[in-house]
């Protein structure tokens, strides 16, 4: 039944949000730490397990796919309720800071996603921050 899929999704989200809040409490901060991320990992693992056991019937999967497909419409509704007016009213400081952070982060993306083993030239050009990356890898 379709509702099985929706319920499975709900269980994952609730568990994730609960664990995220719990993690926040343990760390002593008033925020949810990765609740949605935990829920996503949980769903991936559960779905894989159930598929292997042949317990994830087609209608159940439809319950999951429907909400997955509703994602873009929901994101559009989300964008329609952003505080755009406040962002533009923030003045030059807020604009500059926001834009600079985004542009600099964009520039870093290719360096970080290369990984340790490919493209040595890019790696050797980098200083401080990247050495940590290589050590962890």
């Amino acid at each position: 039944m379709v509702i099985y899929g929706v319920a499975l999704l709900s269980i994952c989200l609730l568990t994730g949000v609960f664990l995220g809040d719990l993690l926040g409490n343990i760390l002593g901060i008033d925020a949810n730490v990765g609740g949605v991320g935990i829920a996503m990992l949980m769903l991936i693992l559960l779905a894989e397990y159930l598929k292997k056991k042949d317990k994830l019937k087609a209608p159940t999967q439809e319950g999951l796919s429907f909400w997955s497909a509703m994602y873009i419409p929901i994101v559009i509704a989300m964008s329609a309720q952003q505080n755009v007016a406040a962002a533009l009213d923030g003045g030059p400081l807020a604009l500059t800071a926001g834009v600079a952070a985004v542009v600099i982060s964009w520039a870093i993306v290719p360096l970080l996603s290369k990984g340790g083993n490919s493209n040595e030239t890019l790696e050797s050009e980098m200083t401080g921050g990247d050495q940590r990356v290589r050590n962890i890898r």
Partner: protein, 254 residues
């Protein structure tokens, strides 16, 4: 008659939201097809249209929730609110490849830490350039540049003025909105076309709504990978900004 219509709409807020979003997407995909020959993705146009509607809503009502502050569009607030957004984000994980996530796991974690510190440092630098010199204001604005949630959380924790907290929220909003709009345009220049890069991207940018919206407009298949790291960012920021990063800022600027 007009009143009856108004009541019918306000009483069925969520349904109105489905209608509004559906029509917005219809128009956007039409524009994408006819005007840009599909070069600008329909959902990118729809998100931009959504932001324009949000701006109009904010101007008309003076509220904080964009279009959803207007009575008959209140359902937009429910549809695009945290609950359904998180629900749908988790749903995108269905079909994501766990081994890809494991492979890029280390990069994802590194990008998270680097992303928080990088945005923070940029924010502090800009605040300095605009004449702020006290550690509390610098830290708050730096934190807001991470995300618009980290800013006020940090500012409140270390006792920043409400003016600075408002600035920090605005900086975070700019970042989130620019990420939503800009991601599809820079995607091909930064190699954002595979799960590994998407995870790094989520960790570096951090704004869940920005990453989620931006990746949706770039390639919906990448959404779960970006979201899985991005959702840790705000928590990490709330953890680091009022503590380690504040102490470091204080050590440097007194």
């Amino acid at each position: 008659m007009l009143e009856t219509l108004g009541n019918a709409l306000t009483d069925n807020g969520l349904i109105v939201a489905f209608t509004v979003v559906g029509l917005t997407m219809l128009v956007s995909y039409y524009l994408s097809d006819k005007l840009t020959k599909g070069r600008i993705h329909g959902s990118a146009i729809a998100i931009a249209l959504g932001l324009v509607l949000a701006y109009i809503g904010g101007m008309v009502t003076g509220g904080e929730k964009g279009l959803s502050d207007i009575g008959i569009f209140a359902g937009i607030g429910l549809m695009g609110g945290g609950m359904l957004r998180d629900f749908a984000i988790v749903a995108t994980a269905f079909g994501a490849n766990f081994s890809e996530i494991k492979k890029a796991g280390v990069n994802g974690v590194v990008s998270l830490f680097l992303g928080v510190v990088l945005s923070f440092v940029v924010g502090v630098g800009i605040a300095l350039a605009f004449g702020y010199t006290d550690a509390v204001s610098l830290t708050t604005i730096g934190a807001g540049t991470a995300t618009y949630i980290v800013g006020p959380v940090t500012g409140t924790a270390i006792g920043a003025s409400s003016e600075v907290i408002t600035l920090s929220i605005a900086a975070g909003l700019v970042k989130s909105i620019l990420t939503m709009i800009g991601t599809p345009f820079v995607a091909k220049y930064i190699g954002l076309n595979n799960p590994r890069t998407a995870m790094v991207y989520g960790g570096l940018m951090g704004t869940t709504s920005g990453v989620a919206g931006g990746l949706a407009a770039t390639d919906p298949k990448l959404v779960p990978y970006g979201a899985v790291t991005a959702t840790f960012y705000t928590g990490l920021g709330c953890l680091m900004a009022p503590s380690v990063l504040f102490l470091m800022t204080k050590a440097v600027f007194g």
